[in-house]
Symmetry: C2
DNA sequence: AGAAGGGTTGTTACAGTATAACATCTCATC
DNA sequence: GATGAGATGTTATACTGTAACAACCCTTCT
């Protein structure tokens, strides 16, 4: 597998790297990596685990910023669309992408698979086109104990594909 | 694959079957399949798609029952633990299990994989130990267009496995 | 019969997650 | 300096889920 997330690493270095990659990514795609978006991304990188929107909000407030929920959710939407972070459905939370490539692309061609610790909320991101049971086995090999798995594919069913009202692009 | 959910079928018949299987399952396991739990299960079977807790509540109220949220969530917890329904994380919603076996066991040994229509919220349940990309391909073969996939495994990370406080059984 | 106890449901209140709607600001461009 | 697009500020509210305690129903034991 090659799950990224639980092994020890140079934390300050990985934050710097990710930040630089995010910047070049946004620059290349003409996306505005504003101070607010940058700060939210940084908070997630520093946390190095899944953080809820209101956890992020709390940090912003500690920063001295009188932020409100929509501000955080907007930044999160931007980062999600840019492929810089992931939403962890199971936790209603967000985590910085651990697999940015050399161009700062987190918007992998692959589907991310996450290993989520229910105790400390740390998140590891596995790569590779594993089977469902293969993921659990690979996780076990790294010392992670899988207790529950979620596999969900969202899209359009055969009937709704024929419905023009449903055709609009997915958010 | 054999995704169950989008093809036409004898709806009244499948509800009756599922209900009978649920009853025998609960009887065998000495679980109380009370009128409230039975009704909530029935609502999900009739809906035949993902229903939020408050959607269910609304139906109960239309029934003339002055139900409150905890009543619905309790019934859902029971049905989840009994393996009769699934929670669809992506939608914060619930769907009756489509794969009860001849003994009324929905608590498969397999990990369920869901195909969720973002337009009509219908849910198909795929079986088999597919790879991530295999799921999308198999879905496409049935006419379902996958736009987004979620793979999440929840459990304990290597560090937290050593922490007694984390050892308590997952709910 | 009465007491005790486990499990289910009723009820009130509230916590946590997310968004609608509209105002304001900033900055590049014309 | 006017315009317009995108970003952020602000208020209010919707949606999802749970804590805590009371009441009820049954079974079991004495």
């Amino acid at each position: 597998m090659s799950a990224i997330g639980f092994e020890r690493h140079d934390h300050a270095g990985c934050i710097d790297d990710a930040m630089r990659q995010a910047e070049s990514r946004c620059k290349a795609d003409k996306l505005q990596f504003t101070p607010m978006r940058r700060r939210v991304f940084e908070i997630l990188l520093e946390a190095h685990r899944a953080f809820g929107a209101y956890d992020i909000l709390e940090v912003l407030v500690q920063d001295g910023h009188a932020a409100q929920p929509p501000t955080v959710y907007r930044a999160l939407d931007f980062l999600l669309k840019a492929g810089l972070i992931h939403r962890i459905e199971r936790l209603n939370a967000y985590a910085a992408c651990a697999l940015l490539d050399e161009h700062g692309h987190g918007a992998h061609d692959h589907v991310p698979a996450f290993l989520i610790c229910r105790h400390c909320r740390s998140v590891a991101e596995a790569e590779g086109d594993l089977t469902i049971s293969g993921l659990a086995e690979a996780a076990a090999a790294t010392g992670f104990l899988v207790e529950r798995q979620v596999v969900e594919a969202e899209g359009l069913c055969p009937a709704c594909r024929k419905d023009p009202a449903a055709a609009e692009v997915a958010a």
